[in-house]
Assembly symmetry: C4
Homo-oligomer: 257 residues x 4
């Protein structure tokens, strides 16, 4: 087996019957670590410390290098797949969704860095979210998500319409009771502000930054909460159950039917 | 095909086998936009700005005009339906629930505006919620809501009775522990106030404006929370499941059986 | 039909094939009103106002009178049921759970009032909760609750054990991270206090009176929240589903099998 | 029946067809009481009071003694089981997971106490959590937990990946809207801090220590809350349903198949 063939089996998930190769597992680990570092890099207590900043720089350059090498290697071995053979095949390969995400995951930052930019521009760092696609390839759930959305789309739309109507009507009601009448609370002084309250209440998040204070407002609020919680949870429940059905069906069909 | 016939097919949903016509889609979009504007209009940071106020006025007059034209057009083409033919048919048409809602959606505001009133009277703006009925006609879920209520009514009533009993008993208990005894908290100083706490806790909203502070109050509160959350969520769950069953059955029966 | 027979059919639910008689509906309404008044009576802004106090007194005396008359009437007509005939039967009738609750619902307060006591003693008012039993007789759900508890008892106990273990272990963990170490937060200074946090978090109530502030505490807290919410909701879910199954089975069996 | 045989039947759960012996019930009660005391011992308002401290000391020494006697007794009667007969059998017995937990539940504290240490060292008290294993032996649910984890592992992993991705992406979004832009809120000043908000919101705990204040932040937050709550509840739901299935199957199989 040539190096190219070995790399092909290591890099291309479709070349394996099941499971994930060691090289791809390593890439997944790098991506997860890069998300951890992306988070830490934004923390003021760390990114003002020269030692941490140095660690971030070393890590980022290493990761960009690994992804660049990975990209070139994937491009090289892609030729072993008949549909990506030759120049035409490679063009087809490079313009795939997955390949574009692979490129966005390192190229822009590398280019800016090479041009002398700090490589720490915020907008460039957001592009690192494209690395999610790198993992998505190995987690079957990521395309099960799409399938679940499609299979429940009509039910989802109707239940979403009902939930949003309830949020809107609840907000209008409390706007009149607490904002226009009542104690003229700042937080209920307009319908958009009351919508913020309605979402926080009906999803049961209840931050506590907004709540009715008049007896009448509390009375309506209590009725809305008891009656409405199930309705607002409906779209999420419909989607969760479609997703769960999709995963079960896939498991029953076996890994690669 | 005459203009009247074309308008009939465009305006009357029953004239189509399935889907929604372009004209009706436009009307739905107008209604949604009018709800967005109704919300924005109440926002103090916008409705004190002359440019926004002008935008609101232009939008409102346009929408009222569109709905007036729509109403007249619907009245005109209704004659193509045998049951609404002639004067008697039109009287029958005009007194339908849908037609009354269509009229309330624009007429009162238009009349007040014509008489020189600002058209911005609060109570008149609330009548715009009647426009929800305009959309309801095109979302099958809105009458599935009613069917779900009917099919689960007895289960719903019993589970609601149990939930409300739990809320009441929990409130009485905490009223004695925190309001009468304990730290004499203002927030637990009466049963109605304790009911507000019980609803916020048992629906898990938990704003944080009221909570027990004595060890005994926290002890009972913890037991009530762990044991009672499922019970208070019961009515919402019963309704959600009836609604979901109703939607699934309708989908299985096909669009127009 | 004699007055006694008419009263028997009106008062004893078992004498009817289904539904509820007008007299019993009136009694249910009185009980519900008395719960509303019991709540209002404790409200400081009302019970310091002489007019409201007078209204409360008039209402309470009226209700006590109605329940006294009802009790005597039930005792009289009970003789039409063979098992409660004669003196021996009446003794058996009077010592039933339902009859004792009926007596507790008015007698102690009436006696204290007759002896010149204010009738507003707190402990006496709590006895009014016995009136719940009066309604329970007409809501099939109240004994479905007991049946649901029995049918799911073993599942309920195991899931409760798992939930409480999780609450305890989460509390011990956060006690060490936030109370002993960390910022030495008052609110996490002992395991019982940390249990209060754990219950508020794992039931998703989240009042906001207690929350971790150190990065480590937030890290563990986030893991506990994501992993544990389903586990703590398990007992409530098990009971809710048993209750819902019980209600459905009863409906399928018909009203009076 | 010799004392050894009687003790064997009392101590070893496998020696009984079903249920739990009186001696083991007593040990479970002691363990539960020791968890209650472990909690109370950490409470500053109690552990600074000499009388409570004395009560804690007496209780702890008693419990340690009981567990020491129990350990020796279990070791003695273990010989009646052929696989633990003789010296070799006892070595096998002593190195079992359950026996190690039994030893950790009292030995370290007893040794430190004998050496003159106060026995109240924090780290030693944590070892008392090993006593959970003592109860786990009698609650079938504790090993049903492991079985539920195994049976749903692949579904659990995928749904967890989706949930964590949603938490991360929501945090990145709000970090930009509220932390970088907006009001430059301290609480959203880095991605890790925004993750704390995302977990509190998407699990619906909503402490209220962090929430968006800008209109744009609230807009995204509302969408994330309505759309995401079901997704983040998915892993917990998957596990809860696997646990519930496992319990039902075990019940259907009978106690000791």
């Amino acid at each position: 087996m040539s190096v190219k063939q070995w790399l092909y089996v290591q890099l291309v998930p479709e070349a394996r019957a099941s499971g994930i190769s060691r090289l791809n597992l390593f890439i997944v680990a790098i991506v997860l670590a890069s998300f951890l570092f992306l988070a830490l890099e934004t923390e003021p207590t760390l990114n003002t410390d020269p030692r941490w900043m140095r660690a971030f720089d070393v890590f980022n350059i290493t990761v960009l290098g690994i992804f660049a090498v990975e990209y070139v290697a994937r491009l090289w071995v892609a030729g072993l797949d008949p549909q990506f053979k030759g120049i035409g095949g490679r063009v087809k390969y490079v313009t795939r969704f997955y390949s574009i995400a692979d490129l966005l995951a390192f190229a822009p930052e590398l280019v800016v860095m090479a041009l002398g930019g700090g490589g720490s521009l915020l907008v460039l760092r957001v592009l690192r979210l494209a690395r999610l696609v790198k993992i998505a390839r190995f987690v079957p759930a990521f395309d099960a998500l799409g399938a679940a959305l499609r299979r429940s789309s009509s039910q989802l739309l109707t239940s979403l319409a009902v939930a949003l109507t309830l949020v809107y009507v609840a907000a209008v009601l409390l706007y009149f009771v607490e904002g226009v009448g009542g104690e003229h609370q700042e937080q209920f002084a307009s319908i958009p502000r009351a919508i913020w309250w309605a979402v926080a209440t009906l999803t049961t998040v209840g931050y506590g930054d907004v709540y009715p204070v008049t007896p009448l407002g509390r009375f309506f609020s209590a009725i809305i909460a008891i009656a409405g919680i199930g309705v607002v949870a409906l779209p999420a429940g419909v989607f969760a159950s479609a997703f769960s059905d999709e995963l079960r069906e896939r498991r029953e069909r076996g890994p690669n039917p």
